[in-house]
Symmetry: C2
Subunit: 320 residues, 2 copies
């Protein structure tokens, strides 16, 4: 939760005057989002989100993200769409940061996941994958296999201080994934970070997918694996096969899996677990006292990795 850049009243009023969305009625920093500064902006017309992109999202990459949201929203994906100013531009600069106003989505994110949430998520994820097929710009996944070795190297020396034996686990897992990672699977634009706090519901009806700032081109099934890890484990660490079944079977009603995808799922789930284990471990080892955001527990993802290491096939995820 964070607002890194404080925007003044005069700055926001001048900024909003570049759009045809009515005058500013209220403007409050919101305690959500780890990477960017987000404000809930109420105008005479309706609510909007103003995002100032902090260091991780560069002005160069923003056209990919904003273009993708606009593309998906136009195809019925319930995601925010960038608002264009009177000059036609959606991307501007505010307080020295790249900035954009995007549409506001109703709903709240679920803290306690029910199987029905996973059903809705599966269909929405498949819909997102299909809607992105004709999106031309490409962005490589900087946090896929090629990005893991540098993170292992940066964390290796102190890994055992977090959990004894973690360093060796990272070495072994990385070696296996680098060797066995699939070369070719159905691919396209993926969200790559579709955790519960990025998915809004009204009741049990999915109303929104947000935060596309890790979106990239990669295997569709890797995106499913990310979701399975984020949605189908209980807080106690146990895997909930009912939720996984709901997620996967709902997904494949919209976009059927190939045999290769099915077979690769346990390995992709290990990769998806390692990816979040590594970034969390890095943030944990490099946490700054006084930082606005509390680092997340890396060991949650070590447990998930271990679960998938013990899986022999997609039947473990409730698929037949």
């Amino acid at each position: 939760m964070a607002v890194y850049t404080e925007v003044s009243d005069t700055e926001i009023i001048a900024f909003v005057a570049q759009y045809d969305i009515g005058a500013v009625v209220s403007f409050k920093g919101i305690a959500e989002g780890v990477e960017n500064s987000n404000y809930l902006l109420l105008t005479e017309r309706e609510p909007y989100i103003l995002t100032l992109y902090e260091k991780r999202v560069s002005a160069d990459e923003l056209p990919f993200f904003l273009g993708l949201m606009e593309h998906l929203a136009a195809r019925g994906v319930p995601c925010p769409t960038p608002i264009h100013g009177r000059d036609g531009e959606a991307q501007r600069v505010l307080c020295g940061r790249p900035a954009a106003i995007i549409s506001f989505l109703k709903g709240v994110w679920p803290r306690r996941i029910q199987p029905e949430h996973c059903t809705q998520l599966g269909a929405a994820l498949a819909g997102l994958h299909l809607a992105g097929v004709d999106f031309d710009p490409r962005r490589r996944n900087a946090l896929s296999t090629g990005g893991w070795r540098p993170l292992v190297e940066a964390c290796r020396e102190r890994a055992d201080s977090v959990s004894p034996g973690l360093g060796a686990t990272l070495d072994d897992e990385l070696a296996l994934l680098e060797s066995d990672w699939p070369g070719d699977l159905p691919a396209g634009v993926i969200h790559a970070d579709l955790f519960p706090d990025n998915v809004f519901f009204e009741g049990l009806r999915l109303t929104g997918l947000i935060d596309f700032y890790f979106a990239c081109n990669d295997f569709f099934a890797y995106d499913i694996a990310v979701c399975m890890n984020a949605w189908c484990f209980e807080r106690s660490g146990e895997f909930n096969v009912t939720k996984a079944h709901q997620l996967l079977s709902s997904y494949r009603r919209v976009r059927p899996f190939s045999d290769d995808e099915l077979e690769a799922l346990p390995l992709l789930a290990r990769g998806a677990a390692l990816r979040f284990l590594l970034t969390r471990l890095y943030d944990w080892l490099n946490r700054v006292d006084g930082a606005l955001v509390k680092p997340k527990d890396p060991l949650e993802y070590l447990g998930k990795l271990r679960f998938h290491q013990g899986v022999s096939g997609p039947a473990a995820y409730g698929l037949t």
Copy 2:
């Protein structure tokens, strides 16, 4: 900026169901307020603020604050008013904290103060003082003279580490204020913390006064002194006599000063400066690494105290 208590989707939905305000459409923690957890709640009808009261505001004291807001709002003061549930109650418990839904106020708080802001503020403050005259419950000001000595004692030993000579300054100032503090001046309910981030404007029109959780019974002129310190100094530390003149002359058009109040103003301004110097110094010396809220600079208020120490009468504030 902080949200100390995270409320889940199911908790907020069940909580809001106790009110006749429509169903929850959105619910976001807002990065404002230092002491409590604040959420912007959108329902099918309109925006509201949900506040969870953290340790400083007790359930025992909340009826005073909520009752005061309701009293003032009913008399035309532009302040939030508590929303009552179907059972008639405005104060409840959520996530183990006292909690209330209050009405939402339009406007944004001014980061760069213009003299016209001070004009509007003066009239609104006088209006607040008059509207509170028939509010019966009383709450003593725990941060007036009687509350300063314990703070000086808690900070005395390390004060010089923040600014050489600060310890002696605190001793001398406290002795003088304890000896010369007025015994009797026009008094009633005061806001006691009316800083710019607690006052909303649309353009230069004042639309809201918020955050009544320091409100108490004390001298009206002490509240004016708090505002003068918070609104009439430039960031460079210079006192802006134009702003003070606007604040004070606008105030007294609504509620005229007595001669005693006028004469006491420089001393009250020293007391108001010492009060924020002491609480900031205490927070500074006792800051916790990793805290969500960055402590404010106590020395800003040392500069303000020094200014008022050099003032011989209210003419220094632009009054004749």
